[in-house]
Symmetry: C2
Subunit: 304 residues, 2 copies
């Protein structure tokens, strides 16, 4: 980062002024309340054409099916391997996601983490032509760095799998495992034949998917502090952003608008609330959130 | 702390040598794996004659019953107000604990935290003749400081209420909310008449009480990293201590033995596993844990 110029990848303008104004106002907030939470997919890194986590599971499924062809015949897996979103949609995304998560049933947490890291070490984003680990948004990394300079606690609140994100969050964002809250797979506690205790992944989700109101409740139960900055890009982030700004103190709700077909993607399809059809960008302007236009506000999108 | 002498409240001897040996060995462990979790009641602060959290609920119940006498007639509350442990035991501790937790049903997290802090600001430990906030163990504070000097992440894994401990953990131990895992009360997400979202405490527990194997599973789901140091004082800590030391790397399981009737308390009653009757100190010696004798190993018990 260039010395003396904060947020160099953010173009001068209203959005950058809003960020700098918030950072300045946050100096008046007690340090224990300087808490910022970011959604991950589409907010901190690229989520198109598919979630990185989906690519990871797809890769694991392909390897599994190569070793053991009948696996590929299971309806959920056949739908995924077909590459046809309509086949997946016909079965229901949740059913397919659970089947994919089940590929790692019985794995220890350490084994699963090693699988994720091995995938990330070599995976590339074909359309963007860069390593998957560099599809993070440079302007957001700069914002996180500025927040840390002000002693903010920075966490990730994602609809994705908690363990998947924890496996990469320290490397990508400097966020430790305990500051990642996502959708959780339950573990079984068991002893090996020698009596040593350990944990194994099950095939079921603990609680509900971490989207919408669940993000708010899970922040309270798992992290325990309400944020004064929340950033997201979809309807699943709506309640978290509203909650961050509903208390009587300096706060900021940040919504990333994917309007940059040239450098990333342009889409609003996911930008709807889970229960309503009002585009989340319209909700944002109604509620006074700061909308980040990727095309207009970001001088650079990805790290060099 | 005296410069140059680490752990000054720990008397020279085998226990202190074990601690210093572990701290030295931890230098070879990657920083991301330098993780230490402490039980709270009886490990970091005094849990006798009753848990501090129980004193807090008792105080709240007395005030509530003074305002609204019929409240005191509810069987669970009558048993508590009687001061007779047998009456509480006859109803079952869990039923009584849930009734007490229900005193704060409908409170926001911020309101509950304010109640805990108001209590802690004035509560005293009658038998020890000191403020409740100074019934923490000075040797353990010194150990935490040494761990932090080595860039350890230090957390609390307690059977007590998560929100109660979070309200005091930063002040007492410098542990932020997200590094406290305990028994959780569920929250309801709701909007006020103006449409602003918020959370309210319910009267039921989320998941199971955080004891025994649940401590291991909850560390994995809520914190995401396995500790290399775990400290406890009772059977409810057994699995956590075994798990910390079951991996192939430097690790330490620490068990506080309350054998000091002169300066604190002498008891082994709670020092049994939940499902077995073997005293936990015997389990400790069988499994090679480091047993801390409060009477022999601690030069000073409480802060001055």
């Amino acid at each position: 980062m260039t010395a003396g110029i904060p947020l160099p990848s953010w173009r001068p303008g209203m959005t950058r002024d809003t960020l700098l104004g918030f950072l300045d106002a946050a100096r008046s907030v007690p340090k224990a309340d300087r808490v910022a939470y970011f959604d991950n997919d589409g907010t901190l890194w690229c989520e198109r054409p598919t979630y990185v986590q989906f690519e990871f599971f797809l890769d694991a499924l392909r390897r599994r099916a190569a070793d053991d062809p009948p696996v590929g015949g299971r309806p959920e897996f056949a739908a995924v391997l077909s590459g046809d979103p309509e086949q997946v949609g016909a079965l229901g995304l949740q059913r397919v996601a659970l089947a994919l998560a089940g590929l790692f049933e019985g794995f220890t947490p350490e084994e699963f983490t090693a699988e994720v890291r091995a995938f990330m070490a070599t995976a590339t984003h074909a359309a963007l032509g860069r390593p998957m680990s560099t599809t993070v948004y440079r302007p957001m990394l700069e914002l996180i760095a500025e927040l840390r300079r002000l002693d903010f606690t920075v966490g990730i609140v994602t609809g994705g799998g908690t363990e998947f994100v924890r496996a990469v969050s320290d490397d990508l964002y400097g966020v430790p495992a305990e500051l990642v809250v996502g959708t959780l797979i339950a573990y079984d506690f068991a002893r090996d034949p020698g009596g040593r205790p350990g944990l194994r992944r099950t095939g079921h989700i603990l609680g509900a998917a971490n989207e919408g109101p669940a993000k708010v409740a899970n922040i309270q139960t798992q992290l325990g502090r309400r944020p004064i900055l929340a950033a997201g890009n979809s309807g699943g982030d709506r309640e978290m952003l509203e909650w961050a700004t509903a208390a009587d103190r300096p706060s900021l709700a940040l919504l990333v608008d994917h309007d940059d077909a040239g450098r990333e993607y342009s889409y609003a399809g996911k930008a709807q609330t889970l229960s309503e059809t009002e585009p989340v960008t319209e909700i944002a302007s109604r509620l006074g959130w700061c909308v980040v236009s990727m095309a207009d506000d970001w001088e650079t999108v990805f790290p060099r």
